[in-house]
């Protein structure tokens, strides 16, 4: 484009931009540069930063003067942790609530995807910008930590580790708010993070007012047996949750011709396998690995069963390169709920396998709970298929059904206890979470009418039967729609590969 042709020759040469726009390196992601430029000028960060400083200074002075000298160190720690946690764990992550939604609403996501910037870079840029500002807050409390050190009786390593864990927790919660901010549903985008934020704020207050901070610092000394493993498992789970939330956001903002589902599913599968292998290598109890595996499966299954379908040639083509193997892999990894149902079946089977290869356990109640939990994940998927044509936002609907199912279960149990009519609970045994309480029903029945311990294997069979039944229904729906997938594959095969 020649500038000369555009406007009549200006009498004065326009000022050059040389020397400007150098505030951030070219190596940084454009999105991060944009977010930092905006974020550091934004009122929220400046207010949080200055308020944290002012409050820490003010309250520290009062706390130190008021507290008995022997406990002054702990008071100082409490004050630092309280304000730092509130700012970093609650206020900062909640800033991510509207981040991607504002871009979608303002049509600017379209403008960004037309550049060379990938959807991942857009979401990551948003996330890193908020996390780096939380990092600035962490750096800002360093002088107070030095002050705290001089009060004595400081568990240096443990307190620093706790601060780092709070920071990591902030990063995870920020990823969740940023990832969910791309969702069209206000429930997922706004209410859920707000609820989590309120819950976290309540937790922070509870920890500090009930003197549990000392216990947490004690845990962070890693002196207790198994505490290091527990920490590692917690960090891995948090990292997985953060990645999954961001991946969900990325899928929502990506152009339809981009496939982000396959890699997300592969990583979920790999995480479950890895966890199973770790459990086997470390000879961990099923009581530890089982719930963790269900926790890993839950979001992956929920997303897979609710994913909208847009199969297009650019998505299908990479699979078709591998012939029959690629087509078979596509039935598990193509975006959309059809392959999502098959993927869920595979994931559930792998998770069960991962539990079984671990240390053996005779606890039948654990097995019942695990199978019931997997059934609980599949049940809303089946309800969703029945009402699929009327559902606009499948994922919020799935969560709604899940919550309603849990609420119904609680209602049934309250009714059973109040009427002392336990056998009627069996009528609701097709609702997976109810199965968790069936051993209690059996025990009570045995207590009334029989001698000897009750046989829980019947409950286990019921749990396995219903979970398998729900899986079969989902697979039947999926198989019924396979011809549609085949149609896209055929069209892709029949069209030229490269641009002319």
């Amino acid at each position: 484009m020649s500038t000369a042709a555009a406007t009549p020759a200006p009498p004065v040469k326009p000022p050059s931009l040389a020397g400007t726009l150098d505030d951030f390196s070219d190596r940084l992601s454009p999105m991060l540069v944009k977010e930092l430029r905006q974020g550091l000028r934004g009122k929220t960060f400046v207010i949080v930063f200055l308020t944290l400083q002012a409050l820490l200074t003010f309250v520290l002075l009062i706390a130190v003067s008021a507290a008995p000298s022997t406990d002054a160190g702990h008071v100082v720690s409490s004050v630092i942790f309280f304000f730092y946690s509130l700012a970093v764990l609650v206020v900062q992550p909640l800033r991510g609530i509207g981040s991607l939604h504002h871009e979608i609403r303002g049509n600017t996501i379209d403008l960004m995807v037309l550049t060379r910037m990938s959807s991942w870079r857009i979401a990551l840029g948003k996330w890193v910008a908020i996390v780096s500002q939380s990092g600035l807050l962490l750096a800002a409390i360093a002088p107070y930590l030095i002050l705290r050190y001089f009060f004595g009786r400081m568990e240096l390593f443990a307190e620093l580790l706790l601060l780092a864990l709070i920071f990591a927790g902030s990063a995870v919660f920020t990823a969740i708010t940023v990832g969910l901010s791309a969702m069209p549903s206000i429930f997922l985008r706004g209410l859920l993070p707000l609820f989590l934020g309120v819950f976290l704020a309540w937790g922070i207050c509870a920890v500090l007012t009930e003197g549990e901070l000392k216990e947490m610092i004690g845990f962070c000394t890693l002196q207790d047996p198994g505490s290091a493993w527990a920490l590692l498992a917690g960090v891995l789970t948090a990292a997985y949750a953060a990645w999954l939330a961001l991946a969900l956001g990325v899928s929502a903002i990506a152009p339809r011709a981009e496939n982000h589902s396959s890699i997300r599913r592969l990583i979920s599968l790999a995480a479950v396998v890895l966890l199973g292998l770790l459990g086997m290598a470390g000879k961990f109890d099923r009581e530890a690995t089982g719930p963790l595996l269900v926790l890993f499966c839950a979001p992956a299954v929920a997303i897979a069963l609710t994913e909208p379908l847009t199969l297009m040639p650019p998505i299908v083509r990479p699979f078709l390169r591998y012939g029959l193997v690629g087509r078979l892999a596509g039935r598990i990894l193509y975006p959309g709920w059809i392959s999502g149902a098959v993927f869920s079946a595979v994931l559930v089977v792998v998770a069960i396998g991962a539990v079984l290869i671990g240390k053996d356990s005779a606890d039948e109640r654990l097995h019942i709970s695990l199978v019931a939990a997997l059934g609980t994940l599949l049940f809303p998927g089946v309800v969703l298929r029945l009402f699929s044509r009327k559902v606009q936002n499948p994922l919020p609907f799935y969560i709604f059904i899940l919550v309603v199912t849990l609420a119904i279960t609680v209602g049934i149990m309250i009714a059973a206890i109040q009427t002392d009519n336990h056998p009627f609970v069996w009528y609701f045994s097709w609702i997976p979470p109810v199965q968790v309480f069936l051993p209690d029903v059996l025990r009570d029945q045995a207590g009334h009418s029989a001698t000897g311990p009750p046989d829980y294997s019947l409950v286990l069979k019921v749990a396995i039967g219903t979970a398998a039944g729900y899986l079969a229904i989902l697979l039947a729906y999926a198989f019924r729609n396979f011809p549609a997938i085949r149609e896209v594959e055929e069209e892709t095969t029949n069209t030229p590969v490269g641009p002319p």
């Binding site: 484009m1 050059s16 726009l21 379908l309 847009t310 040639p313 559902v391 641009p499 002319p500």
Partner: protein, 339 residues
Amino acid sequence: MSAAPAIKVHNLYRYFGQLKAVNGISFEIPHGSVCGFVGANGAGKTTTMRILASLDYPTMGVAEICGINVVHHPEEVRRLIGWMPDHFGNYEHMTVVEYLDFYARAFGYSGKERKTRVQEVMEFTDLIPLADRFSNKLSKGMTQRLCLGRALLHDPQVLIMDEPAAGLDPKARVELKHLIRVLAQEGKTIFISSHILSELGEMCDSLLFVNGGRIVHHGDAETLRQGTDSHGGMLYDVQVLGDPAAVSDWCVINPHVELVESRKAGGRIRIESTDPARAAEILARMVKDGLKITEFHKEQRNLEDAFIDMLGRIDRGEGALPTPVKKPEPAFTPPEFPN
């Protein structure tokens, strides 16, 4: 430059459930031309443009930019096009120069080249004086210039502009028109939608009229203007002294004369004959009936008249719509998936 047309659309369909937003349109736009895309709200303009920009996908049919299929090769297409949406949000706490710098980085420019590109588009769009203004504090006209600058950063061959003149004041419109003409002179292909037909007529080499998701006319403005008036008459501007409603009242009671448009001092009438003698007769009758005529002259049919006339013909089922070609080998026909 590719031998294929800059934009090619063949039998393109886009359905949103029962709504047929685009209903089998086909057209080609050669390189270096400016094509106006005209139609009422909901006619399918934005949907077609979004498909061409690889932001949406067709239910069926082919859309190509410089011979590259937008469904099969969206990445390649994005390097060739510049996209100006009908509306977009600006960023808070970000200056004009930072806004362009962000997109320059996003397009992959770095170092000196990045600054040069930003400088060039700022000079072209005359944004240098606004460099340090916050981008969300700009007027509509300045915002459109900023948007044009962003769309030009990667020097695209084809510019797709959706209602760029909407909401602009006359001065900003003239500026935008000037910029578009300069870009056309530089050989860029411009596909532009607008409601303001007169402006498109001056700016565009060809006009594409769309109605109900189908193309109803493709040709230059002059062909359309000179096309046969379906009413078979002539238009006259009539101005009177006194109450201008006298013209419309007179038209109501006189057959073969129809009021087309009320005006400040009278109205625009259509006389159902092309014979000048008939016009003289009508004028004489008006004077005889007591209308104090100060002006009576023949008017050319403008683009709005031609467009409305054409839509009227279609509504009456008189005008034959171009029949869509029999289903070609579609590049992509996604099946109906239950979601």
